[in-house]
């Protein structure tokens, strides 16, 4: 039993096909609402965590414990006038934030959420190639970043987007190689190793223990993908105003902002799915979803700690780090994984 059939049984008085169509729509809506709430929650959690680490209190005026602060900020961004630069390329300028935001929200559809009590498994899409689709969606995001920079007729924005793309190019190859190692490991146990659900079920031992090098590479890659502090060359707020988002204001800026925090959460979720065993844990049939959330939260805290403790890396240093260290490390990881798979240890 999963969430879809559960909703369809409730709606079964409508007839078979209408019930299923409606159930699909409702399930998608649930995921979109979940993604939005989680992204807003990430903003609140980040602000609170940063404040406590810096021995401040953080937002505490709007609502109890400042919970409504994110909503107040969102309302402010919606009300603001959207100022657009002269000489922009109009269509890409307006499409760029949408690309990032929609790719992010769609990414949430492919995560295997695992079962939760009476509802059954919450996984939305049961695809044999969900891993491929997920990483294709993640690979769309840099296009939004690049577009937003080069069309807004601003030299800071161009420099920011060029830096961002240089960063993206240098970490995505190692990231995909470490994912390849995951697929190799999963294929030894499971018939469909490109399915995220199959990868989770293949992890009797979490893959983070079997291939720590891959875990390390993937953690750094996800940090670079979300582009927060050690890797925020695209933004570089101390030298390039705010990089590629310089000319954006109002709701379009809000989309970039939510995109940043959403990518942290989505990256942590992918990391815990691929390396920490996803929804696996004690009483998996009842609280699998909770296990996934707990693992994700731990990764989120680690990510935010990385964010708050490190200064920005210079772009050439990161590019050389990506090509000279991350890439060989991920190749070594690939070879070691091959030995593990051949030896039957996985």
């Amino acid at each position: 039993m999963n969430l879809l059939t559960r909703i369809a049984t409730i709606l079964s008085f409508l007839g078979h096909y209408p019930a299923y169509i409606l159930a699909y729509i409702i399930e998608t809506l649930i995921v979109i609402i979940f993604a939005t709430v989680v992204v807003a929650g990430m903003v609140y959690f980040f602000r609170k965590y940063m404040a406590r680490v810096q021995m401040r209190i953080g937002p505490n005026r709007v609502g109890k414990f400042g919970i409504l602060q994110v909503m107040a900020d969102g309302l402010k961004l919606i009300q603001k006038e959207s100022i657009m630069p002269q000489g922009r390329d109009d269509l890409p300028y307006k499409v760029a934030p949408l690309i990032i935001f929609i790719a992010l929200i769609m990414g949430f559809i492919f995560i295997p959420y695992g079962p939760l009590a009476w509802l059954g498994t919450l996984t939305v899409t049961h695809s044999d190639v969900s891993l491929v689709i997920l990483f294709a969606l993640i690979a769309i995001m840099p296009i939004g970043e690049l577009l937003s920079g080069i069309v807004s007729n601003n030299k800071y924005a161009v420099l920011g987007s060029l830096r961002g793309v240089a960063k993206d190019v240098s970490f995505e190859v190692p990231m995909m190689l470490s994912v390849l190692a995951i697929v190799m490991m999963a294929s030894a146990r499971n018939a469909s190793p490109l399915d995220l659900n199959g990868i989770v079920q293949a992890q009797n031992i979490p893959f983070a223990i079997l291939e720590p090098l891959g875990f390390f590479v993937f953690l750094i890659s996800m940090a670079a993908r979300a582009s927060y502090s050690p890797f925020d060359m695209g933004e570089s707020d101390s030298e390039l105003v705010t990089g590629n988002t310089t000319e954006y204001s109002g709701l379009r800026f809000g989309m970039f902002y939510l995109g940043l925090f959403g990518t942290i959460f989505l990256g942590s979720m992918i990391l815990s799915t691929l390396y920490l065993g996803g929804y696996n844990g004690p009483f998996v049939n009842y609280v699998g979803f909770i296990w996934l959330l707990i693992k994700t939260l731990v990764i989120v805290v680690i990510s935010l700690t990385i964010w708050l403790s490190m200064p920005r890396v210079r772009i050439d240093k990161f590019v050389s780090f990506g090509w000279k260290y991350l890439l060989p490390i991920s190749f070594i990881n690939l070879v070691l994984t091959g030995f593990l798979v051949l030896g039957g240890i996985s």
Binding site: V53, M55, I57, M310
Partner: protein
């Protein structure tokens, strides 16, 4: 001939330093925040903190010493119609808090301890109303017209 000693740089393990920094950041999560939510809660001031000038018109003898010792003409003597056998000229100090630097010279020099300072510091007022007449100086802060 001077020998140049070569100092060996300490060998560093690349990631360990970063993890140390992360641990230092994470450690502060469990410490108490230092922020004071001002209007609702107030931090304790020091015992010797003083700000607002008070005047007891019964004790004032009108000797004008406080006016003379005031470094920036904050205190000026004004006449006040009040029966006080010790103050025959009927002049009392008035204070312009816009220029007061809280040097406490007036308190120190006053022969009868008529001028004294208290730790009241919430004296925010509207523009051009920093002038306190002698009767204002006798009252508490919330009784003075703002």
């Amino acid at each position: 001939m001077i020998e140049v000693k070569e100092v060996e740089e300490p060998k560093r393990i690349p990631i360990l330093g970063s993890i140390g920094g992360m641990y230092t950041v994470f450690k502060h999560l469990f410490q108490k925040p230092v922020t004071v939510q001002y209007p609702e809660e107030k931090e304790n001031q020091g015992d010797r903190f003083r700000f607002r000038i008070y005047l007891s018109t019964d004790d004032c003898v009108g000797c004008t010493l406080c006016e003379q010792v005031c470094p920036n003409l904050t205190i000026t003597m004004v006449s006040l119609d009040k029966e006080n056998p010790r103050n025959k000229r009927k002049i009392y100090p008035s204070v312009n808090f816009g220029t007061c630097t809280v040097c406490r010279n007036c308190e120190e020099i006053c022969p009868t301890d008529a001028i004294y300072l208290k730790d009241v510091f919430e004296t925010a007022r509207t523009k051009n109303s920093f002038f306190y007449s002698p009767t204002d100086l006798e009252k508490n802060e919330d009784e003075v017209r703002r």
